[in-house]
Subunit: 324 residues, 4 copies
């Protein structure tokens, strides 16, 4: 929070097309890049795209759901066959009810998966009819599973790792806001561009409101995103952070919103990834240390992804002078 | 309908690239965004893309079609097997013709789904041959079903809800045409832009014709489409609605055509949604009430989708003065 | 063919980025939009993308190929099982060699499709091993078939019908080259644009060469491609056809190359369609007759696709005067 | 390597958005277009996108992996069933342990592929349970295989062949750097554009660093990429190679980085292909010989792909004069 005096500092007029409003609250973009918005109204089913949901599940939970569904469906059908009566199925072990149910359950699974050994097989109308539809349902279910698997692993993703923190580093005699990112998988990204904007909370006549500013970067496009990319926003007159002191960065609610867009040559598709940095994720007076170097044999370049958050202290003389 | 005198009011020259003509009639774009055009000529099969049709079906009808097809195909093959003669199938219950047909039907379904218990199995050339092709057909059918399921749920869609009505609201001392939209599912849209145009029917020397105008909006692009977006067309000299009175809006055949385009990060694809507003869907002298607010804990923003059509009366002094 | 005198007529400098050369021959773009080029060298397998080939097959031929493959594969495996010896399969009808082969063939198909009734089943190592791999091969084959089916029907296509002929029609006191197109299926196209260029063969000092020119059109973009679109190239000073007489159009090797690009909302994808018109497909002194009209109830517009080639004679006074 | 004197020669200021750094080493882009970068840190599983990996495998290796997986999985399950005890499976040949294991293995494969002849079938709880999950696993495995097959062959690719070498050819009184490319499959590419840049290693006060320059081309876009495309970079004042002698080209570490982007009409997708040329792949004083010609019947154009690397000596008078 800061008062009117501070407000003067920001000369740039704020942009209006952030898509966020003044009286929204909390972080705008979560670390994972999704907007921090809660939807109400409409019923929950219309509010969820189950396909989006299935695609966003972790592999483990996705598989678990499939297995659970498989077991439940089979239990359901087993129950139905049991009600119809085991005498309508051949080869059932009738020694006791439990064995009967067990056999019926396995018959169900052999039908659902269309294995159909035939050791147990339906006889008569009702059981056969149910089996007919269970097999049909089974095939459709696996048709859907096929689609979901494909949807999940063919989903274009940027596979970028952002530095957890951004720094205010000395740059060209003044200071610059910097963060960096690097592709961490064996994907090839080209024609990458970055869009950086910021939300700054200000108090105007006692009311807190958010102003949004676009942040210019030294380089907004690069041809090949193979090494790390350090995005640099020079803090000069045209920057909303112009003449911000370390305290200002600390005491103001700032959010840096980042969007990277690139072309993935395997997916042949545009991929997008976003993240954001809040005041407490901005380190004042630091600079990143290099994270790539020539290989020993000098035949290739080595990118060390573990160093992405590595930085060292660095004074910012110019700005502090201004402050004094 | 309105006379020549009125015509004067519109100063802007009309655009020609709407894609619609002067002597077309009725609504141009339906509420659901599809053009209101009927195609004749060519035979109906060439005129339908069955894939587009299958993708546009409701889930319920889609499933119903699948089930119906499944039953019909099995009945068909059952009939064939029956004609070939049940003696060419093992394990048929020959107690009476009905039972025979029933068993033959289930054999067909067990073949089509490739369950193949084997309790009933083909013997001899003809029956085996038919079964051979039924199983083949079954697998191809489910191959197609798999594709359709995937095509249906992987189809990129914007999942936007538009306000049912658009309003003429007081704005910056004059009036503005406004409507709003909001994403209602857990999808993340970025880089959204809007294109708004209008068709106005005028009478020139007794002949009614449609003129098309592009409507400028205060904001034509936003970065993150997470909250609602109120699209604002300022009614000033450069607007075709300049100096329109409430009566003019009522008595003229107006259609506001809207197209939203955005990038969905899960589909990694551009999505488009369109709608339109006709004269009777434009409310004069009203303004929308806010539909999002900070959450109680101030950690997130809440978007209430049920409020999307909520508005309150609001006078439009300036314009009415002009009219008097 | 035409002499140097004629050459003077063309004032516009030719464009170089057609992608075609001067000493290429014959039509450049076939009526179906594919370039008229024959590739040599490289072996034929590397020269064919079998996926492109499968996608371009007619449905009938595609299915035929699948069926043929299915029969051949089964015959092959039947042969192998036969060599291994029918005694390694249970339930074979050993009455005579033919019946044996028939049963072996059906066993193969029951394995390939994974129906596996079990009436015939493998016993012992060799037969079981072959069956193991046939079932595996079967599943992979149907996996590929599934992909091909999906690839075929999810392939974005524009479904546009072009007029077979283009006309030189009177327009704004002078003449214009016109052709038209219309979407003929239930697909919704938006933001359509057209690129028209022409190749004109000229004789320079006895050598024939092709010059390429871009043709400007009255309208190069339209918002909604729901009705027919008549593309108009005005023949004025800046047109390579300026002051062309009817004879010139007849006697010159002209090719009009057309490319339409639009956005399909169901595929959420850009679709492209191309075609071309040669001298003998250009009708001098004609104009298209309207192909859409209001529906009787005035609630919708009717587009009659059968009229797309309908035109009537129309004099071109201005130009002929120039010629005289 | 070259000294400061040489440095003078290059007047153009270098571009910074190559995405590569000064202290990276070795080739930047490999011949196949992938960046020559080694990633360290993070564990290897997070560093690999297995989907990208599977898509980049050769067909042969891909199939081999599938077969291997199939055999291993079946061996695994066979072992489990064997431990459970063959008495829980019907129809096992109990003559000796090996036969038992063989039968159990084939039962496993019949379950995994859902053939399920039933000659061997599970009896009792444990065996049936394992079989239930094996069949389930089998179907999911083939669901994934289906997705991978589709992903592999539907993956948009440019299918372009680049000339292995680029040449410095006489052009318009001076010299030009040229290389060429041609589509070698039955795919139709339109709206192709090329981006060419170069990395030149220079020694500044003893330290070697890489400078990056954008290379302008005579033609950066062509409409239809059906024949070969010879990309021409004119070596004039604005070229970093201005007044380079043959020796300079030999003795300098130069890398020409090329990116082609085009629209494929079958995939309806943008496709990208890249390659690079190093000093030793640049031939000074040579020009390409034509690789397409009219067909004998003059009805089509023939493109001979085997000639793509064919060139002949050609003197470059102007430049050598400059050098002397």
């Amino acid at each position: 929070m800061m008062g009117k005096g501070f407000r003067q500092k920001i000369r740039q007029k704020n942009t209006e097309n952030s898509g966020f409003g003044n009286n929204s609250s909390g972080r705008f973009i979560n670390k994972d890049g999704l907007p921090n918005v809660q939807r109400r109204g409409v019923n929950v089913f219309n509010r969820l795209s189950w396909y989006h949901t299935m695609l966003n599940l972790s592999s483990f939970r996705f598989i678990s759901y499939l297995v659970a569904a498989y077991i439940l469906i089979n239990l359901g059908f087993a129950f139905i066959y049991y009600l119809i009566g085991v005498e309508h199925l051949t080869g059932i072990d009738k020694s006791d009810p439990l064995n009967e149910f067990v056999d019926v359950f396995f018959f169900s699974s052999q039908t659902f998966t269309t294995v159909g050994y035939g050791r147990i097989a339906p006889v008569g109308f009702t059981a056969s009819l149910v089996a007919t539809f269970e097999a049909f349902l089974g095939l459709l279910t696996f048709a859907i599973a096929t689609g979901l698997f494909y949807g999940r692993f063919s989903r274009p993703r940027a596979y970028l790792r952002f530095s957890d923190i951004s720094v205010i580093a000395p740059f060209q005699g003044t200071a610059a806001l910097m963060f960096r990112l690097a592709p961490y998988k064996n994907n090839a990204l080209t024609d990458a561009d970055v869009i950086v904007s910021t939300a700054i909370e200000v108090i105007e006549n006692g009311v807190s409101k958010n102003n949004f500013y676009r942040l210019d970067t030294q380089l907004s496009k690069i041809n090949t995103l193979a090494l790390n990319w350090t995005v640099v926003h020079l803090i000069n007159e045209s920057s909303p952070f112009y003449s911000f002191s370390e305290e200002d960065f600390k005491n103001t609610n700032i959010e840096i919103i980042v969007q990277i867009r690139a072309f993935d040559e395997v997916f042949s598709n545009t991929v997008v990834q976003r993240t954001s940095y809040r005041s407490n994720e901005i380190i004042y007076g630091a600079k990143f240390t290099p994270m790539y170097y020539p290989s020993r044999d000098n035949l290739t370049t080595v990118l060390n992804l573990d160093k992405i958050n590595e930085y060292q202290k660095a004074d910012i003389p110019v700005l502090t002078e201004i402050q004094s």
